[in-house]
């Protein structure tokens, strides 16, 4: 991070895990179930007056990170310093006091407003919650002031209306008015425009930029939309399965995206320019289960540029076979499936797998099947990670190279968590290429 003056928010080693409840027996004997690592060891600074974009797909942990920073979700470990105080250690009442200074705008304006409250009541509600509503006329005057500021004017037309009388854009303006009525310094905006029609989005973004200028606000903009983030953010953090995979100034990220995931996200955006089309070499599959993330780099199973060190493992072989079978005719599939059997060893995150042939298939036959799969698509990055394939004692043994966890390292103006930009990892991969057993 640069040596900017004191950051407004400083996140260090933050982890937010959600535990998945195990069985009744597990709870009885005190065993804890698996955990979803929604935020998995993240450090970042939010500088005063900047707009930082947290960008990722669903399941990336971006929303959880935003909420943990506000203390709305308890952190599992690590710290979040806001104006010098660690909010993960504050009591509920201290936290409430602090919340006057940090507010949130949610995605769905229709669900963010109580349908039984008038706009004036809803917007003035924070004053009441924080014990600042001493005099009705004063509250009403303050509400009128912020409504005017967010463009809901003439204010008399809106004060006594109910949310159902307002359009989507108007509701989001009211939600923003409610968020700024306490004069916060930090605003977390979680997909504030993604539920709105195209023709309204620009207006809400412009309003938020104007408010930031006028009130010296700092924004954390949580979104899946790289197009609006480009417009709105000074810096961008790209998230994938609980990790920041790339972070840096917006211009640098958009001009020269480093991480293959960032590159894929940018290329996948449907553009209204008919001369450009979506490329065919998109990452395959979807974001995997965050309770059992892939070994090594979490993105490696989908990455078109993954190589020896990225964390190839047994589950990747299962996916490879399934991709092969999806394209194969029914007969070919039935035959191969019968030989491989249920292959339970391919459901575990392991760098070794032992497959017993089914229906009389020998280890050598299974090895032959893998060879056919390899020759069908020798360029599949999966094969770079295979260390050894051997048929022994009627079974097939497959070994993969050990995973190397990537770290967020500086690369030019950005930081990126990818082995392609790590000299040590590249050297290790070259060594492994030589050590592969054919």
């Amino acid at each position: 991070m640069s040596a900017a003056a004191d950051p407004l928010v400083s996140v260090r080693g933050l982890k937010t895990y959600y535990s998945i409840r195990g069985s009744f027996l597990d709870r009885l004997v005190g065993r804890t179930g698996a955990a979803v690592r929604a935020v998995d060891d993240i450090s970042l600074d939010l500088r005063k007056g900047e707009v930082l974009g947290l960008v990722g797909e669903s399941g990336s942990g971006k929303t959880t990170l935003g909420r943990t920073i506000l203390g709305l979700v308890p952190a599992t470990s690590g710290s979040v310093e806001f104006e010098g105080r660690d909010i993960t250690k504050l009591s509920a009442s201290d936290l409430r006091e602090l919340r006057r200074r940090m507010q949130i705008v949610f995605q769905d304006p229709h669900a963010s407003l109580n349908p039984a409250m008038t706009i004036a009541q809803a917007v003035g509600h924070p004053l009441e919650i924080h014990g600042l509503a001493h005099d009705r006329d004063q509250v009403r005057a303050r509400v009128a002031e912020v409504l005017e500021r967010v463009g809901l004017s003439p204010v008399e037309q809106f004060m006594d209306k109910y949310p159902s009388d307002l359009s989507g854009g108007q509701k989001q303006r009211a939600v923003i008015a409610r968020a700024i009525i306490l004069n916060p310094v930090l605003l977390v905006a979680d997909e504030p425009v993604s539920m709105l029609d195209m023709s309204v989005r620009a207006k809400i973004l412009e309003l938020m930029l104007a408010l930031k200028r006028d009130f010296d606000l700092t924004y954390l903009y949580v979104t899946h939309d790289l197009a609006t983030a480009k417009f709105f953010c000074d810096r961008i953090a790209i998230m994938y399965l609980g990790r920041i995979v790339e972070i840096g100034p917006s211009e640098a990220i958009y001009e020269d995206p480093k991480h293959p995931y960032t590159q894929a996200l940018l290329r996948a955006i449907p553009e209204p320019d008919p001369r450009r089309t979506i490329p065919r070499d998109l990452p395959r599959g979807e974001v995997p289960d965050a309770s059992r993330p892939p070994l090594g780099c979490h993105f490696h199973p989908r990455c078109p540029r993954a190589f020896e060190v990225c964390g190839w493992e047994a589950r990747d072989l299962k996916e490879l076979l399934e991709r092969r079978w999806a394209q194969m005719g029914e007969e070919g599939f039935d035959k191969e499936r019968a030989a491989v059997g249920p292959a339970e060893s391919l459901n575990e995150p392991a760098t070794q797998a032992r497959l017993h042939g089914h229906g009389g298939a020998s280890g050598a036959e299974l090895a032959g099947l893998l060879e056919r799969a390899r020759s069908a698509d020798p360029a599949d990055p999966f094969w770079t990670g295979v260390k050894r394939i051997a048929a022994e004692n009627g079974a097939l043994e497959v070994d993969w190279f050990d995973p190397v966890d990537p770290r967020l390292l500086p690369s030019g103006p950005v930081e990126v968590e990818c082995h392609l930009y790590d000299e040590a990892a590249l050297a290790e991969a070259a060594e492994r290429r030589g050590a592969r057993i054919p």
Partner: protein
């Protein structure tokens, strides 16, 4: 376009009553889709695009009324009996919805959903035929056969949408209506699904009506585009031409206000789409149009054709003989307060 379009809609009107008056959701719309052709239907919420999609399939809510023609392979579906429509839906007319999770029966294995669908319409199929047809279609959507016996909740959102598409395609319909099929999906998965839809014509020869609010999606997946505003198609033509050189001010403004990676300045359209009970007189877009002329609020625009296969509903493009003297004079647009916006 082939000689005989798969779908021809002529002067279709769809409206339904509400306590506040009758809503003219679709107001005299005409369009054609040929075999293997993809038509993108774009509009903002409330433009009537979803009502049009459902109306074509005869899936209107109780109390809705229709008028005009929906010719499917020469047969008029407006006024067709519910029984006949039910028989056509599936093997002839397919539909893909926005929310894949809510459209698959959560208690049925994927295998059984396919079995039910196929048996409903092709009762002579053997079990082996059903399996082969299902696995083949699923495979083309990238769903491995190992997952044939799983339940919907075991699949990710993108896979569910692939299953929905496979479930529609397994009956080999000639026309497929897809209503915002990627809205609930992440951007990379959306791109994967768009690839599948763009490849439909090569793989299945299906005519596709793709309904979306996202102009980017139309540019990626469609040959033709129809832009809807307040129940009418205001512009239609080859997607490439319309995007490169929009003729209707609404199309132009909508393109300008779409935020894409190329966007350099934010732009928005003042005001909000009108309600469809009492739409503005003359051209429905006139209160928001930057190019408003004297004639626009007074006289309904007349559709004009250009360059062979483009049409537009806007007085800027004539017809000249219908415009009274002085009618093309620009007039000052009334300022629209934020209070009126969407």
């Amino acid at each position: 376009m082939s000689d005989e379009p798969v779908l021809t809609v002529r002067d279709l009107r769809l409206w339904y009553g509400t306590p506040r008056g009758s809503v003219r959701a679709v107001d005299r719309i005409s369009l054609e889709i040929g075999a293997g052709e993809t038509l993108g239907l774009v509009g903002e919420s409330g433009s009537g695009k979803s009502t049009l999609g459902r109306g074509i399939l005869g899936l209107l809510p109780e109390g809705a009324r229709s008028d005009g023609e929906v010719l499917y392979k020469g047969r008029n579906l407006v006024g067709a009996s519910q029984r006949e429509l039910r028989r056509l839906r599936g093997p002839e007319l397919g539909l893909i919805f926005q929310e894949p999770m809510t459209r698959l029966d959560p208690l049925m294995r994927i295998e059984d959903q396919f079995r039910e669908t196929l048996q409903q319409h092709e009762s002579k199929l053997t079990n082996a035929d059903i399996r082969r047809r299902s696995l083949d279609t699923l495979g083309r959507m990238g769903i491995p056969p190992t997952r044939f016996r799983q339940y919907p909740h075991e699949f990710s959102g993108g896979m569910r949408q692939r299953i929905m598409i496979a479930l529609a395609l397994v009956l080999r319909p000639s026309l497929l209506v897809a209503d915002e099929p990627t809205t609930a999906l992440d951007v990379i998965v959306e791109a994967q699904i768009l690839r599948i839809l763009a490849d439909l014509k090569e793989n299945f020869g299906t005519a596709l009506l793709l309904i979306t609010h996202n102009l980017g999606i139309v540019a990626e997946a469609c040959d033709h585009v129809a832009v809807m505003y307040a129940g009418q198609i205001v512009e239609e033509g080859p997607a490439r031409d319309v995007f490169a050189e929009p003729k209707h001010p609404y199309t132009r403004e909508l393109l300008r206000s779409t935020i894409s990676l190329d966007t350099e300045r934010l732009h928005s359209i003042p005001g909000a789409p009108p309600n469809l009970i009492t739409p503005p007189t003359g051209c429905h877009f006139h209160p928001r149009c930057p190019d408003i002329m004297r004639i626009c609020p007074v006289k309904d625009p007349i559709e004009t054709r250009h360059d062979g296969d483009r049409r537009v509903l806007c007085w800027l493009h004539g017809p000249e003989r219908e415009i009274p003297p002085g009618g093309s004079e620009p007039i000052e647009q009334e300022r629209i307060a934020v209070a009126e916006e969407a």
